[in-house]
Structure formats: C-alpha cells, structure tokens
Symmetry: C2
Amino acid sequence: MSELHPSAISINTINPNVKLMEYAVRGPLVIRAAEIEEELKHGVRKPFDEVIRANTGDCQAMGQAPITYIRQVLSLALRPELLEVVNCPSDIKERVRTLLNGCNGGSLGSYTGSLGIEFIRRYVQQFLGERDDVPSDYRDIILTTGATQGIKSILQLLKYERWKSNLFQIKISIFKTTAVPLVIKKTGIMVSVPQYPMYSATIVEQGMHLVSYFLEEETNWGLNINELKRAIDEAKEVCIPRAIVIINPGNPTGQILTRANMEEIIKFAYEENLVILADEVYQNNVYEDRIKFNSFKKVLVEMGEPYKNMALASFMSCSKGYTGECGLRGGLVEIFNFPADVKTMFYKSLSAQVCPNTVSQAAIFCLVNPPREGEPSYELFMEEKTKVLKSLKERAQLVHEVFNSFEGFSCTTIQGAMYAFPQFKLPPKVIELANERGMPPDQFYAFELLENTGVCIVPGSGFGQKPGTYHFRTTILPKIDKLKVMLEKIKSFHTDFIAKYR
Amino acid sequence: MSELHPSAISINTINPNVKLMEYAVRGPLVIRAAEIEEELKHGVRKPFDEVIRANTGDCQAMGQAPITYIRQVLSLALRPELLEVVNCPSDIKERVRTLLNGCNGGSLGSYTGSLGIEFIRRYVQQFLGERDDVPSDYRDIILTTGATQGIKSILQLLKYERWKSNLFQIKISIFKTTAVPLVIKKTGIMVSVPQYPMYSATIVEQGMHLVSYFLEEETNWGLNINELKRAIDEAKEVCIPRAIVIINPGNPTGQILTRANMEEIIKFAYEENLVILADEVYQNNVYEDRIKFNSFKKVLVEMGEPYKNMALASFMSCSKGYTGECGLRGGLVEIFNFPADVKTMFYKSLSAQVCPNTVSQAAIFCLVNPPREGEPSYELFMEEKTKVLKSLKERAQLVHEVFNSFEGFSCTTIQGAMYAFPQFKLPPKVIELANERGMPPDQFYAFELLENTGVCIVPGSGFGQKPGTYHFRTTILPKIDKLKVMLEKIKSFHTDFIAKYR
C-alpha cells in the first residue's frame, strides 16, 4: 500500500460516519458463512455438508417458489413480441398491455417519472384505500427501489441540525487555551431495541442521532409509553427528536401491535411533535387468525382530530409477504399530511435519483393488482398465495414450540413477519471468554454455532437487546424438512455448548 | 394546511441541503411538458400534436428497439419453467442457466451479495480487461442500481470536512456581541461546466462544495489545465478538494477527450492529490471512425509510475451505448488503487443498501457477455447493435450540420454520447424580459420553444455555461424522420423568435 499516492484517499480522510456505521445482517457472520461455503466447495471437511442461511429474510433463496402470476407478467412485459405467440391466460396479457401502455415508448427499457409510473401509483391508491377503508391519494404514493430506498430518502429529508445555545466553548488549562468545536444538536430518530439494523446504519451514516427505546419482551415486545418518554427526554439534551420508527409486524421480534398500543404511540408522537415512520413491510405476514394487521395510517385517521392530521410515512415492499421477490427490489412509500412545500422538496430530491427500476415497479403493479375472482389466473394465484402463507404459519408455530422446549430458551409467539428472536441464557464462562476476544457473548455463540453446524443466524447484539440478555434472530424460511434439521442442529449444539462451558 | 400538526414537519425544519439542490434534467420544463401532454390528451388545442421529449437520453422512449439477446435472457430468467418448452437459441438458454446458477436458490427473486453477484463481477473483470488491455480485478468491481447509485455512494464516501483553523469568530457591533458559527471546510468535488446536473445536485444534497471548472468550447470542450488550476486554487480557501469528475464522452457536450488531454488531467490530479471519478457511461457511443475511446484507467496505468498508483473510480451503465436499457437501472463501478481498509469501509456502507436489483445485474451480465462469434445469437445481435450505433452516428452528424446552418447557432462536432449542445445568440430584449421574469434567458427561450412547438429541451443554464453565452441540450435520439421534423420546428421557431425580439 505504500506505493499509493499519499492521502488522495485513505482511511483517515473518508467519511467518518461511514466508518462508524454497522449493519449486522450482512456483517462478519455472513462473510464467514460465505467463506465456509467456498471451503466446502473446495473439499474442506466440516462437521456439516451445507451452510443454512437463516440470517436474512430471503424467501426464494430458501426455496419459496415465485408466484406464477407475477413472473408471467414480468417475463412477457420484457418480451412483448411473445404476446401474440405464447399461450397464456388472457388476464396476464391484459396486465402486460396495461403495464406497457403506461411506459414511455411502450417499453420497460425507458425511464419513468421519478416517483414511479403514474398509473401504477393509482393502483396502489386503490389497494391502500381498500386495505384501510380510508382514502388514499396517488400523489402521496412513491414507488421506490425496495422499501430501503424510501426509508433512506425520508430520513435524509428529516435531517435538520441546530447549534446548541452555547455557541462555542473555550477550554483553558495550565499550558494552553483551546477552542473546542461547537456542539451541534443532531436530528434524533427514535428506533426500537431490538430493531432492524438498516435503521441504525442509515441514521449513523447520515450523521443523525439514534434515540433507542426498549421493547418490552414481557408484553410480547409491546411499546411501553413510559419507556418512550424516558428515551426521548434523555435524548433531548443532545438532539432534536424528529421521528419515531415503528416496525409492525416486528422485525426481528415478530409481534403485531395491538390497536390500543398503536393509539398510545400515536398520542405520544403527537405530544412530542414526531413524524411517524411506519415500517409495515410484513403486513401480509400475519399468522394468528384472531389478529388483524392495522396500518398506522388507518388507526391515526380513525382516531379523528387532532391525530388524523399528523404527518406519517408508511413503507411497503414486494420482498416479503407471499410474493417474496427480494431480488426485484420493489418498494413503495405512502406519505400522509406532508405540507405541499415539503412534498415539492422531497420529490425534487427523488428526481436526482432518476427513477426506480421498471421491473421492480411492475412487481408492485402485480402486488396491488392481483387476479380478481372470475379471471383465468385467479385460482392458481390463490392456491399459490394460500400455500405460501399457510406453510409460513406452520413454520412459525413449529419454531416457537421447539425453541421453548430448549433448556434455557424462551421465545415469544411469532404473530407475524418471518423471524424468531428467542432469548437464551449463557454461562458466565462464555461471557468471560467473549469479553477476552472482544466480541459480544451472543456473537461468540453465533460463530460457534456456524463453525459447528453450518447454521448462520444473527446474534441479538446486531439488533440490540436489554443489557445482560442474549438472543438471536433466525428466519423461519427454510423448508419444513430442512427447518426441522436446523432446529435439531441448534438443539444439539446448544446442549453441548452449555455442557462445555457450564 | 393550518390543520397540520405544527412543526412535526415543515419547510423550515427539513434538510436545508435538499432545499438548495437543483436537478434541471427533471426540472420545471419537464414538469410543464408532462402537463402539456395531459392537456393534449384532454383535447386542449395547441400549435402541435405531440410533445417531443428531447430532454433526456431515454433511448427506448424515443423508439430505439431493445436488443433481442438481452430481453430473451431476462425474460427467460424470470420464467425458467419455459426453458424446456420454448424454442430459442441454445446460447440464450446457456446464458439463462449460468445466470440462475449464480443466484441464491436459483432465482432472480433472491437477494444477492451487496456488491452484486460474484460471477457477473468476474465477467465484468474480463470485459474491462479486454477493453483496456490492462488487468482488472472483480474484487474491485461493484454492480449498482444505475451508474447514479455508484456515483452517489463514492461521493458520500469521500465526504470529509474539517474546521477552519480560526475555530470561532466573535462579531462585536455597537449594540451586541454575537458569536458566529465556526466555518467548516467542506469536501470539494471538481466538476466541469457544463456538467450533467446529477453531480451538482448530489454534491449540494450531501453538503459538499462544488468546484466548477469551465470546459473550453473553442477546443471542442477540452479541459484547460490553467483553468483547472484557477478553479482549485480559488476553491482551496473554502473547501478541501478531494476529487475531480470527468465525463468522457461528454454530457452534455459530446466531446471525446484526446489522450494528450487525459494525460494532462491525470498529472494535474496527481499534483493536487485528487481521486479521479471517470464518468464513462457513454463509452460505447463514439461516432468518429478515427477516434477511439480510452478509459482513464487505461491511460493512467500506461503512464506508469507514479500515476499508475493513483486512486480512481470509473462508472459504466447499461442505459446508454447500443443497449439503451435506461429503465432497468443497471450500472457498475470499478475502483482502482483504493487502500484495503477504505474498500472495507466502502463495502460496508454498500451492505446497508442491501443489494442491486437482480434484473439490472442480469442486464449488466448480458452487456459484458454478448454472443460470441459462432454462437447462434451472434448474427442477430451484431445486426441490431450495428444498426443502433450506425443510426446514432447518422443522427449525430445530421444534428450537427443542421444546427450550424441556423442563424446565430454554432454547434461543436458530436463525437460521442447522445446530445448536441449548440450555442446561440439571444437579442438584448430577450435577456431583459427573462430578467424581469426571474429566469435565465435560455430557460425563457426553452419555455417558449416548448409552448410553441412541443419540443422539450434543457436550457444550458441547467448544465452551466460561461456567463453571457447561451446553449441548450437536445438528445439526438428521436427517430430520423421525427428528428428532421424536430429540427425544422426548432429552426422556424428560432427564426420567428429572433424576429419577434430583435
């Protein structure tokens, strides 16, 4: 490296926020998992044959079949020449023609408006309106490259710093007088602990302040308003709290918030002047019959004055639910009660991101415009959709049951989303050893699990957890047979591990 | 708006950089063009039948046909069930199988590594190696969501601010003593004038400092080293210059830099410790037989010590060239001589963006792995590719000739890219009128052109130009017949306009 031109780019002269940020879901364990896969390919002997990637909600990578309807539409839209030739249901052809009519030059190869293709946004309007029984407006709906891009764009919009009232400080010691840089009050964003670490990563990357509030494991990961108040009051010293992120259904925690809890949260956000950022990407992953997913927008509107005028952004995706099209990166944001001049600025900032991928937009089109009863594709579509959701539900119940049968494990009900987040006890010796190696004890556990069984999970420390508690997140996505094998592997590893370090 | 919850989000409390940024390519003219299209649809009478969108390099929107090879691969990769059924060339099927083998779970619906699918990055390595006759390394190649995302990510990485040495200032006037916030030296990024305004937009959005250098229209938009020195020396007062952006082939200016000029630029960047950001997305759009595109990496390596050790990032896309797949948002970055620890940080920041769209990655796969001689798809592929490039060449020559025949117009040779950027004179009365309306004179001209002819171009002020000169950018993308009509419309508008305001 010594030959490098000095200082044009070096670790000391890059963005300090980039250096600070962390993203555990794609962190060191995942890197090691990939290395192990390579080693296996090259014949290195291990106590297992394959790596089971239970670290990300990557449905199709774990064998979930794509919904035929979606793939038929996308495939034909990319090759419209085949419309006249190929034998496929009339509603598919109709969808493809509608889609291409909405594209400039009739092609998915053209740029679209920066907010996405208008007619698709109108379908989203109808879809959200029907979901909530509350009106929606396509002019407030933006198609994005995955929900991630939408979340990042909204967070960037909210960035607003102020100087603290004491504009500068001078430190005088015996030997010298030093002027110390002024203190900036950063933008505060409230995020749960545990959380999906894309939030903490983005907040740090953008130079904002993460205001963490603990979820209550005892009340199935509910939000306790006293805890929210504690978190925001402490944070006000160093930041200007601007927004609260709520992930519902929960990631990594799998809870679905009760309506009563949502109302409390909305009142809290109202009192504290916070924009509500509702991460609702798992809205189609609900596994308890008696539970209904309510969007924050619906609850807020139904609460009436003054809450129905609160600013909110809600995020949705085609990566989750029964579609599971993670690789297509289709997402959408609905903003609500943003003032017109703010919207203008937001839309301007999106325009410099050019436009979302057309195929991802087409996937959202399919998601919000599924085959209707009576259409030729309806039966197959419903069969596939039901099958995926039924199987996820079975796996959610299985994982929950099995984890609770492990010594020292406790796992809350998986009401929604795609993950289990069990708590487990670790012997003092493990904690000591992990400290020596400079890693959190649950990361030590996760590495040992990976090296011994090939099972790749994400330690709770990557999502955050109450001090002194240990968790990990595993997806429930492996197919049922493999899932059973995986649970068996974790069980026997855990038993040995505890015996070894007791 | 009065009912809105006060201050949760308002124009006064959003990101000031978002308020400052501008992006002319999707600015007010384009918004007005869309309105006019709506008006035409609703039967409003205009002196024209359709809007001609010559404002963006949107190939397929202007009728360019997609390359069959690419669409066959993408379409089948989304519906692999058809591989056994459908009748298509064996090399297409082989590409689809290779592609899906490289995807987790064999599906485009799965997430990929954050840097893109590894085997595609290896194909890019081979492609770039052959292009430059200089080695490339897939570990330095990143697939991105359009070149735009890559550019934005690199710019963010380079953001590094310092306090100016005078750490604070106190202003004392007769009535009060005021402490004035400390002055920050922002990150300086050198960008040409004219430029592609995504650069200025992103630089402003990220709170960096735009260091503008003028291109020399007289030497076919070459870079004059004295001008680069002037620009950087003036900027050093207020910023830390970190990088120089060079767009080659030029956008909006259409030049291809000579090798001698590139060597001068590299030496300048070396002396000034700048990272070279080479925007080479138009590398396949070269219209003069005697001219060869050279990548900055090639020239820098061939210059030997000490230049071959300089840090560089080069950007490429499937939106331009003969592919023109703008909507698919496929891009790539090759970084070169970035220290290992910087790369680690950069890759970590990309991981929190999850991963680029798989279909866009597949499009890059096709771009760097076209049918080879002897393969069944080769002939059709070459026929289509040659046809597109030949036609673009004809249009480049036509536009150049015709503009130079207009009174008061001068247009440099369009050696590459997809645009003409003619200079034209405006009568003093126009300048006066435009000033009265608070808009640049060439924007006034562009609005008049749009309202009278339906032709939508981007005024030179959107890209930057020497004070007192006026330009506009038009694409050369309309099909030849429509292009002739468009040029005719501009000519007769221009004649009337000059007559009216003389």
